[in-house]
Subunit: 140 residues, 2 copies
DNA sequence: CTAAGGTCCGTACCCAGGTACAGAGTCAAG
DNA sequence: CTTGACTCTGTACCTGGGTACGGACCTTAG
C-alpha cells in the first residue's frame, strides 16, 4: 500500500511549501499569526494545506512594510456573527486607507523611476536624486 | 540686528524639520544615506534646507518596506556624465519592476479590504481571512 | 565673562523579527 | 527492535534600525 497519510502536513513539510524554516513557523505561532494547529500525535503539529497560503501572506505583507502586528490585524478581519460589524468596518477602512496611501506613494516613485529611465535614453543629465520629490506630502 | 544666519541648518534644527531625532541623522550619515555636510564651524555640521526632504524620503521609503540599503540605492540613481548610462538604466529598471510588483499586491489587498467592507454592509458572513488570497502569486 | 544649552564622538543599549542550538521524546522503514 | 530522521520546548544568539548615554568641547544670549 502506498503511504496513506491522512490530510495534514508535518511542520517541516509545511515549511518547505511556504518557503520558510521550521523555526519561523513556531515563531509565528507564538506571535499569534498562525492558528494553533491540531496535535493528534503525541504533541506533533499537523497543518491543513491552506496554512501555507497564510504563511506566504505573512511573508509578502512583511515585505510590503507591514509589521507582524499589523499583519495579524489584517488576518483577523472577517465578517461574522460574533464580532460587531461596525468595529470591523472601522478597522478595515483604516487599513484600506493605509494601503491606498502606500499605493499612491509607490506610484509616484514609479513615475520618478520611469522619468529617470527616459532621461537616460535621451542622455539628459538629471539633478542628483531626481526621485526625491516622489514622497513629499503636502501635510507632513 | 536680527539674527542673520547664513543659510544652513544645525543638526537639531534639521532634525525638527524632518521629524527625526538628532541621533538618527548622525546614524543615517554613518550609513551613507546622507551626504556628509559641510563643517564650517569647528566641526559642527551645517545642512542645506533640502536635506530635510532627503530624510523624509528615507523615512517614508522605509515605511513602504525598503531596507536602508535599498533606499541608498534609490537615492544614488541619477543620470550624469560620470556613470555609465546602461548601468543606471539597469538598476532603475529593476527598482521599477520591484515597485510595480508592490503596487499590484497592494492593489489586490485593497480590493480584498473593499470586499470585506461591502460584505459587512450587506451583513454577509465571510470565511475566516477573506483577504488571504490577495497576495497569492502564480509563480511563488 | 559666564552659564545654559548645542554639538561632538564613541560605545552601549534597545526592540522587532527571526535563527540556532540543546536535550529529550517520537515515528517509521527495514 | 533498532536506528536515523523528525519533533518537542526552551533559551540563547543574531541583524537591522535605531536610541541613549558619558564626557569633552563650542557658542551665544545676557
Amino acid at each position: 500500500m502506498e503511504t496513506n497519510h491522512p490530510p495534514g502536513l508535518t511542520i517541516s513539510r509545511l515549511a518547505a511549501r511556504s518557503g520558510v524554516g521550521v523555526e519561523t513557523i513556531r515563531f509565528y505561532e507564538r506571535k499569534g499569526l498562525l492558528e494553533r494547529p491540531v496535535r493528534p500525535s503525541r504533541g506533533y503539529r499537523k497543518y491543513p494545506p491552506e496554512a501555507a497560503k497564510r504563511i506566504r501572506f505573512v511573508r509578502r505583507a512583511k515585505e510590503l512594510g507591514f509589521t507582524l502586528q499589523e499583519v495579524a490585524e489584517l488576518l483577523d478581519l472577517r465578517v461574522d456573527a460574533a464580532s460587531a460589524c461596525a468595529d470591523m468596518r472601522t478597522r478595515a477602512s483604516a487599513k484600506l486607507e493605509d494601503v491606498t496611501g502606500r499605493i499612491a506613494d509607490l506610484q509616484r516613485m514609479a513615475e520618478g523611476l520611469s522619468g529617470l529611465i527616459s532621461a537616460c535614453d535621451l542622455s539628459v543629465p538629471t539633478t542628483p536624486c531626481p526621485i526625491l520629490d516622489a514622497l513629499e506630502r503636502p501635510d507632513a
